[in-house]
């Protein structure tokens, strides 16, 4: 991994890596490759990645770089062609761009269904669902159906539902891409708070550079055709940041420059 950055907010990967504990990583990916069909295009090539427990990693790349495919492989929804993926805690919770709430169930029941499929006894589901909804500040909306909620509220219910799975690893596939900027900004704050409170390992896929620079402890840049991780930035965690802050902007500019460079290479 060629870590070339020396931006003020980003420290070289080697330094930060030296500081990590020797505990088993949350996710370990080795030599992963993926192609669709025997003669299909190579989507992912030689992905090697170790994610520590409790880390917030942003996977950044242009559309079609295979970042969602990588996430689906980690989630177990797709299988790699070569290489191995190990999720130490067994399986992961996933949240998608569309909330994909079940439209025939209320917000509360949507969360309860996740608890039910996890094997939580019926008697405890209701209170637990309410607690989870309260975590995303939606306890009052438990009786509402998805179509009565705004897009941001639906995503928060989806977040509560994925927290109901109680997995150590949470995979998020562009969860805020369809939201307006104001709502997205709030959800960044919400997600960061929940991450700090619950200590979950989060892998967050996005094509939004600022979003990645705002949220991630580590930002991985992927290139397209074939999808590879070309660079990574580690960001010192000095508490909550704001998307408008100069540090985030500076990092976003640096990442964008390299992203554009990578895209230019595809020009004929």
């Amino acid at each position: 991994m060629n870590t070339t950055t020396d931006a003020p907010v980003a420290t070289p990967a080697t330094l930060a890596a030296a500081g990590t504990t020797s505990a088993a990583p949350a996710i370990r990916i080795e030599g992963l490759g993926k192609r669709f069909g025997a003669a299909g295009p190579v989507v992912l090539e030689d992905i090697n990645l170790t994610i520590e427990p409790g880390e917030f990693v942003c996977l950044l790349g242009a559309s079609g770089c295979g970042k969602s495919t990588l996430l689906n492989i980690i989630a177990g929804l797709e299988h790699p062609t070569t290489g191995t993926v190990t999720v130490t805690s067994g399986s992961a919770a996933v949240m998608f761009q569309e909330s994909a709430l079940f439209p025939w169930l209320t917000a509360g029941r949507n969360v309860e269904l996740a608890l039910k499929l996890r094997g939580v006894p019926r008697a405890r589901r209701r209170t637990q669902a309410l607690e989870l909804l309260d975590l995303v500040n939606l306890a009052d909306a438990a009786h509402k159906r998805p179509h009565e909620l705004s897009g941001g509220m639906r995503q928060r219910v989806a977040l509560a539902r994925s927290l109901a799975q109680d997995r150590k690893v949470l995979l998020m596939d562009e969860p805020f891409a369809a939201l307006d900027a104001i709502t997205r900004d709030l959800l960044h704050e919400e997600l960061e708070r929940i991450w700090r409170e619950t200590g979950r390992t989060i892998v967050f896929v996005t094509h939004n550079v600022r979003e990645a620079a705002r949220l991630g402890q580590r930002v991985l840049l992927m290139t397209s055709r074939p999808g590879r991780i070309v660079n990574e930035w580690r960001i010192d965690d000095t508490g909550p940041r704001r998307i408008e802050s100069p540090e985030v902007s500076r990092l976003a500019i640096e990442i964008t420059d390299q992203l554009r460079e990578e895209i230019r290479r595809n020009a004929v």
């Binding site: 989630a75 929804l77 399986s91 919770a93 996933v94 998608f96 569309e98 994909a100 079940f102 439209p103 025939w104 269904l113 996740a114 499929l117 996890r118 500040n137 939606l138 909306a141 159906r145 998805p146 179509h147 009565e148 909620l149 705004s150 897009g151 941001g152 509220m153 539902r161 799975q165 104001i182 709502t183 709030l186 704050e189 919400e190 708070r193 508490g239 909550p240």
Partner: protein, 306 residues
């Protein structure tokens, strides 16, 4: 130093907790701005809106018809007026034929429909989940849906004679394909994302079917059931008109045919109106409330105004 760190930490906790409160208030504010309360009209108003226009139109048509008979004064045996038809209905009611025919037809139609549901539902499930069967049987089933089930009446009479079996056979041939196809298309239209979520949440195969796919397919299934009922009713009438006598009871179709043989046009028109009315009534009483409830819960109801 330690005391310094302590104050710093407690300060940080205090500030994050107020920041959290502020975030919550901000979020609640945005939620309130972004959700529009649904304004739904009361049940009485909704019924009035739904019932009044068709009733008024019907009334206007009957009045126009009556005017025509009074002004143009056509041959009453060829062009009876609404009063003649009404008198005929009263007469059919008086000698009990009307009640008998409605009861016979409705019970046969209902029983045939329920049997069709019992056959069509598992068939639809099999077709939706078993790809090979679907490739083999799917086109045939769609073809059967197009084939008018009246076409089966002659064959059914030869096979089963003039018995109830003939009627039920024709009804089933009409309704089963619609119900099965309705369920198949309902399942096909389940957004793949919902299946993925079910899988991610750890649902087993059977849990995925009962907790995710079937509820998601319900609207499609219901419209299949509606169409199935329409086909049942039509097929029943066709069968009753053609197959009369034997052990086949006296239904609305038989009444229609009997009136034709007597060249009693008012009675023929009266029977047609009754067949129509029964069809509309079943739709209004059985299917419409279920459908409205189902769609409203999913936010798919065109009757709800935002």
């Amino acid at each position: 130093m330690p005391s310094d760190t302590n104050t710093a930490t407690s300060y940080a906790t205090a500030s994050t907790s107020t920041a959290h409160d502020e975030l919550r208030r901000l979020e609640s504010g945005l939620d309130a701005l972004q959700t529009v309360p649904l304004t739904e009209r009361g049940a009485f108003r909704r019924t009035l809106d739904g019932v009044l226009p068709p009733v008024l139109l019907l009334l206007a048509l009957v009045v126009a018809w009556q005017f025509y008979t009074v002004i143009a004064d056509p041959r009453p045996d060829l062009y009876p007026g609404p009063l003649d038809v009404a008198a005929s209905i009263a007469e059919l009611w008086g000698d009990g034929r009307l009640q008998q025919a409605v009861t016979t037809s409705l019970s046969r139609g209902g029983a045939g429909f329920l049997i069709a549901v019992a056959i069509g539902t598992p068939l639809g499930l099999l077709l939706a989940e078993w790809r090979l069967l679907r490739r083999a049987l799917g086109p045939l089933l769609s073809g059967l849906q197009v084939l008018p089930s009246v076409a089966w009446v002659p064959a059914a009479i030869i096979w089963f004679g003039l018995t109830d079996a003939t009627v039920y056979f024709v009804v089933l041939m009409g309704a089963v394909p619609s119900i099965a196809n309705g369920l198949v298309s309902g399942i096909d239209q389940v957004p793949p994302q919902l299946r993925r979520v079910g899988t991610v949440l750890g649902a087993s195969r059977s849990q995925l079917a009962t907790l995710v796919i079937l509820p998601a397919a319900l609207p499609g299934y219901l419209s299949g059931l509606k169409q199935g009922w329409a086909f049942s009713w039509r097929s029943l009438m066709a069968a009753e008109i053609i197959a009369m006598g034997g052990s086949i009871g006296f239904g609305l179709g038989s009444m229609l045919q009997q009136s034709r043989e007597l060249a009693d046009l008012p009675a023929v028109l009266a029977t047609i109106l009754i067949i129509l009315a029964v069809g509309i009534l079943v739709e209004l009483v059985v299917f419409a409330p279920v459908e409205r409830r189902l769609l409203r819960r999913r936010g798919l109801n065109p009757g709800v105004h935002r």
